[in-house]
Symmetry: C2
């Protein structure tokens, strides 16, 4: 690991802790008690998001004032160090609003070429923390991630196809591709956000998952890139190309054979 990355890994752990402490305060708290107005619906989520993000940005600026920040909530910050943080305080807002403990704080770090060198995902309720560093094996809570389907001969007819919501497939072309895939696969599942990727990369799934998503932003998947690739997961755009800050369509599969098979539907 480069010394510049190693120093920042220490801070990344602190960012996860700081964000987690804030989110725990807001989780499963109804905001309408006390007569909140209608236009403040989901205000609690916004507040939790903004507060957690700002706490992370403050910490970055105190420790690495030259680093840039790409963030979900606030304004991006240009950097001079060659390193940029990519922050999503709550990935899984749809879970957070429902009180489901499967959201996470995503913390990515990219180099001057905008390639992810570090990724942390932190689920504050269970306390689970995933870590990926470019070129190293990923881990959850320090335990190396095992991908049981890495060399499996299983094909798409036996896989579970996962997306957070079908409403992310906004174009007729995307919808047609997904309809074709649904006819081919064994099961479908919705919801889950980043937790789908993390669970899959951890080998926690009772069947092979192929995750197909669209309409994403860089902060939705940047931190997941080193985590998934360091767990032998295939993770590309729908053309099979490396993910970039401009990518919006992503697909993740447990092995190259399954990945080729799903790409044939998506390309």
């Amino acid at each position: 690991m480069l010394p510049e990355v190693e120093q920042r890994l220490f801070i990344a752990q602190q960012l996860a802790a700081v964000s987690g402490e804030i989110l725990i305060q807001y989780f499963r708290r109804s905001h309408l008690q006390g007569g909140t107005k209608i236009d403040q619906v989901s205000a609690i989520v916004t507040q939790a998001d903004e507060e957690a993000e700002q706490a992370m940005v403050d910490l970055i600026q105190a420790q690495f004032p030259q680093d840039g920040v790409i963030r979900e909530e606030g304004k991006n910050i240009a950097g001079k160090s060659g390193y940029t943080w990519v922050l999503d305080p709550i990935d899984g807002t749809s879970s957070f609003v429902r009180g489901l403990p499967i959201f996470a704080t995503l913390i990515g770090l990219v180099d001057a070429d905008m390639r992810p060198v570090l990724g942390i995902a932190h689920q504050p309720i269970s306390g689970d923390r995933w870590q990926g560093v470019q070129g190293e094996q990923s881990n959850v809570n320090g335990i190396p991630l095992v991908n049981p389907y890495k060399a499996s001969e299983i094909n798409l007819t036996a896989a579970c196809i996962v997306s957070t919501t079908p409403l992310m497939f906004t174009t007729p072309v995307q919808q047609q591709k997904m309809a074709d895939i649904y006819r081919q696969c064994q099961r479908t599942a919705f919801g889950g956000d980043c937790f789908n990727y993390l669970s899959a990369a951890s080998g926690w799934t009772a069947m092979p998952l192929v995750i197909v998503e669209a309409d994403l932003n860089f902060y939705d998947f940047c931190a997941l890139i080193p985590i998934l690739t360091g767990a032998n997961y295939c993770f590309t755009d729908w053309q099979g190309k490396e993910l970039t800050p401009e990518s919006t369509e992503v697909v993740a599969s447990p092995n190259p054979k399954l990945h080729s098979e799903i790409l044939a539907f998506l390309q």
Copy 2:
């Protein structure tokens, strides 16, 4: 509470514990290690389901041999006591296969008129247990359920519409109704299964949830009826009628005003 129901409440608690112990053994275990064949995909889920259900049925038959059983996995058992258990060992298979800790064991009890008198929902990973008894206030882990939106003046434009999967709306009429609702509401969320109802009934949600589902079986919602109604939640079929073993379309809302509003779209 009727003495017959009170006696069975004690057993219902034991059923939840027995099922939970089995599910914990199987959760987040990949079954493909060791060369499982392709036709055994999701075998681990089936095995967990069947084993948990059989353990519950054995316990019922030992304690109340005259009771009937309606079950997800095995053959139904006709009873003579006037009481019938309605069992779903894993509600949330789509969460279970992904390693998401938001499935639950659902245990319902209906009287001779097939009306739910008792409902238990147990999430074995967090250990959370919800309990509803006809005519009483429901609780989670012994804590009374609070519905913060019970008297809220909020309307559908400020609510989050929830369904486990949009693929449960199989007819063009259902799909049209949902499309109309999606245009009206504030947010949508998918996945979650029974946990959506339980979280909503517990007041754990950051905005009011309206849950709309179709293509369900009795064991999917029977246990939820006493839990939700004992938490001041409205829970009916799409016509606004009381749920019965024949119902397949359900809708749950935090107050009568919101319920009327959503029914106008569904009827």
